[in-house]
């Protein structure tokens, strides 16, 4: 009897302690403690972790008042609000341009305008990019990292198998969306693989669909003279764009069997060679190669195809945000760390060493290094030239595979829609899902519902 009791009591006591231990008090030694997100996971290559530890030690020697700690948490729309609302975001977190609007509104990202200015970064960053990270009053809520534009990714191997090759060995690039559909059909017939993979869920569908829609002349929203917004996509152009997606499924049989595809799934399907084309930006190449084992020489990047209204490519990018739960001192310390890691407007000796070390890590991780940045967030020509010089030494991709993309010939680069962008994507996801799962989906009524939903649920409730 006593055994039972004492056992229960000790389990209870031990468990209480364990539970409380999780929220133990932090000792204060006067140092500015900074938790850096997107850190290497504990399962990462030990060499990578060792290198990071060394860098931290070096940095802390330079800045004895700062203490750096890593946190493997990475941005994820599913967990961001859970972490943020509980005040547990790491001090820095890498996210995407497309999320900034919502993050700024939620108040979870800190205003780092002053910190950027004090560190001499503000005037050196491209104002167009900074605007994406700014609110109405021009305050900046993030440190832009990189920018990119959507292109058409091609699996060269599948194109070869399908016989879609030019005389000089490059893949036959679809110049219009009609050609893309046609080629997809050929690929399906010849290889059995999907011609094209389009994300359909978690706002990925809407995000990619924008490129198709713009090139067909669709306008989505319009600001009225009183400042309110109106959804204006109940148009023949929009219906044509949706009809195109529907035809890709039912007429050309171009899409994969799986219909619930988020951005990660899109990369996976393309990376393991289950689809021959997709719309994405070159920042995915690392994932394709190092995570899904795709041969980097099979990846070919082309300009986005065009349609009646021209070629439109959506701009995107990566940006680091800082937790609003922390102090200005911590933001400043975090920015110092990022600068230490090579994100500076001037490439001096230390920065150069760091950049070299970063490239080495990427390569040892099985990733790719490009000899140039397709877009840069920095204004300084000198910095950009210097960057390319260093990058060229480490580059391990054949730039011939990116020639068509890199020129952006005739391509109009477009930033995202201004109002309720993510919600628009969510609504479009629904329409896309409807037309690829239902052969008899009525596009007229779907369009009407989508416009109505977007107007009533989102644009009308903006404030």
């Amino acid at each position: 009897m006593m055994k039972m009791k004492s056992m229960l009591c000790s389990v209870l006591a031990a468990s209480m302690l364990l539970g409380i231990a999780g929220c133990g008090t932090k000792k204060d030694d006067g140092k500015i403690k900074v938790e850096i997100g997107n850190w290497a996971a504990e399962t990462a290559d030990p060499a990578v972790i060792e290198k990071l530890d060394k860098e931290v030690a070096e940095f802390e020697k330079l800045h004895p008042d700062i203490e750096i700690k890593g946190n493997a948490f990475g941005y994820d729309t599913k967990t961001f609000n859970v972490m943020a609302s509980s005040g547990q975001l790491p001090e820095t977190l890498d996210t995407f341009f497309t999320e900034m609007d919502q993050i700024i509104k939620s108040g979870y990202a800190a205003d780092v305008t002053d910190a950027l200015k004090e560190n001499g970064l503000f005037d050196q960053l491209n104002p167009d990019v900074l605007e994406i990270a700014s609110d109405k009053n021009g305050r900046v809520f993030g440190f832009p990292k990189e920018a990119y534009a959507i292109g058409l990714v091609i699996n060269k191997k599948l194109f070869k198998e399908a016989g879609l090759v030019e005389a000089n060995g490059t893949p036959k690039i679809p110049q219009t969306y009609a050609e893309l559909a046609e080629y997809s059909k050929i690929i399906k017939e010849k290889t059995g693989k999907a011609g094209f993979v389009l994300p359909t869920t978690e706002n990925g569908g809407g995000w990619v669909f924008m490129n198709i829609a713009w090139s067909k002349g669709v306008e989505f929203e319009e600001q009225q003279s009183d400042g309110s917004w109106k959804a204006v996509f109940d148009t023949p152009q929009f219906k044509e764009a949706i009809q195109y997606v529907k035809d890709m499924k039912w007429k050309y049989d171009a899409l994969p069997d799986n219909k619930v595809i988020n951005i990660e799934e899109q990369r996976k399907i393309f990376g393991i060679g289950q689809a021959a084309m997709t719309l994405a930006s070159p920042d995915i190449v690392n994932t394709l190669v190092s995570k899904y084992g795709m041969n980097k020489d099979d990846v070919y990047f082309a300009r986005v195809p065009g349609d009646s209204a021209g070629r439109y490519a959506q701009m995107g990018g990566g940006i680091t945000i800082f937790s609003a739960a922390n102090t200005d001192k911590q933001h400043d310390a975090a920015i110092k760390w990022l600068m230490f890691k090579g994100r500076t407007p001037v490439i001096d000796k230390d920065t150069e060493a760091m950049l070299r070390s970063n490239f080495e890590t990427t390569i040892s991780d099985g990733g790719v290094v490009f000899p140039k940045e397709f877009f840069t967030v920095w204004l300084s020509e000198e910095r950009n030239k210097k960057y390319e010089e260093i990058a060229a030494e480490y580059a391990n991709v054949d730039m011939a595979n990116y020639e068509d993309y890199a020129g952006f010939k005739d391509v109009t680069l477009r930033p995202e829609e201004s109002a309720c962008c993510q919600q628009l994507y969510a609504v479009l996801d629904g329409v896309i899902q409807a037309v690829i799962t239902d052969k008899d989906a009525n596009i007229d009524s779907l369009t009407k519902t989508a416009v109505n939903d977007f107007q009533k649920n989102h644009l009308d409730k903006m404030n």
């Binding site: 468990s15 231990a21 990475g74 994820d76 859970v82 996976k268």
Partner: protein, 298 residues
């Protein structure tokens, strides 16, 4: 056929079974149950088969039922990528803590309501009974409670305590305990009281040892419940070093962090269900038998 003669219990007995119609119906029932058992088993078997397929095999047309090879090296590689020991340890801490809170606090409450009955406990009993059937009201306010505990203002996200606290106030289990304790003869308790035992001592020394059947029942409910629980562990422990295995399973499917192929997802699933399967294989008779005990009939 002989055994039918012994059938004296249930809806129909040996006499009914003499009629051919009833016999056919009885055979149909047996076949139905066999099919059902197959349906219960097959998905689990299928996980084991798929786990060993290569990505190409998984999407092969025509499909194969069996993988080409049961390559155990793949299990090893995956275990190198996913720290199973950590996830299982976390899961175990969740389970044991929830179990202890469940048994002690709900048991004590059942005991007080059944045996001590202090003034006002009748009202409390009604309220607790009501709570059992109360619909949940959005997860937001409870989440808010946990990330900023009232009065003490501590953020409990990333600690196991919220999950344990939730296990400590299970109205259904309180009623199970109360019903069971109601059946314990008062004499035992009175005797102990006269010996000068405190109520807490009575509970641990007299009641608990007599309550093995109900302890088994509640323990099974508690362990299976917290083993299976996903939503709150995800909200409270997700993206922290204390993630239990159920949260890991969700994280790998939505591509956060680890990037796994479909066959690897199946293998993680397989490794996650092996321990409960083993435990069940050892204890199944006790588990299903234990659940038969009194306390459930009410």
């Amino acid at each position: 056929m002989k055994q039918f003669r012994n059938k004296t219990e249930g809806l129909f007995n040996f006499q009914d079974l003499k009629s051919p119609g009833v016999r056919i119906a009885y055979a149909c029932m047996f076949i139905f149950l066999l099919l059902l058992s197959a349906i219960c088993l097959f998905p689990i078997i299928w996980v084991f088969l798929s786990a060993f397929k290569t990505p190409e095999e998984m999407y092969k047309i025509p499909p194969d039922i069996l993988p080409k090879a049961f390559d155990l090296d793949r299990v090893k590689t995956l275990m190198g990528r996913v720290n199973f020991v950590k996830y299982f340890t976390n899961t175990l801490i969740v389970i044991v803590g929830c179990w202890a809170f469940d048994i002690v606090f709900n048991g004590l409450a059942g005991y007080v309501l059944s045996r001590i009955k202090p003034k006002g406990s009748a009202l409390l009993e009604t309220v607790i009974f009501w709570s059992m059937l109360l619909p949940g009201i959005s997860m937001a306010p409870l989440y808010m409670t946990f990330i900023d505990m009232p009065i003490i203002h501590i953020n409990l996200r990333g600690s196991y305590l919220p999950l344990w606290l939730m296990a400590g106030c299970n109205a259904f289990n309180i009623l199970l305990f109360r019903n069971f304790f109601n059946g314990i003869p008062m004499d035992y308790i009175d005797a102990a009281r006269i010996d000068g035992c405190s109520n807490l001592n009575v509970f641990f020394k007299i009641i608990m040892p007599l309550s093995k059947p109900i302890l088994v029942v509640v323990s099974i409910f508690s362990i299976i419940g917290s083993w299976s629980n996903f939503m709150w562990p995800y909200l409270i422990l997700g993206s922290t070093p204390k993630e239990p295995i159920s949260v890991l399973l969700y994280q790998i499917t939505n591509g956060a962090g680890l990037k796994l192929m479909d066959n690897e997802v199946m293998m993680v699933t397989m490794l996650a269900i092996i321990p409960p399967l083993l435990i069940y294989a050892l204890l199944s008779r006790h588990i299903t038998g234990g659940l038969n005990m009194s306390g459930l009939k009410g």
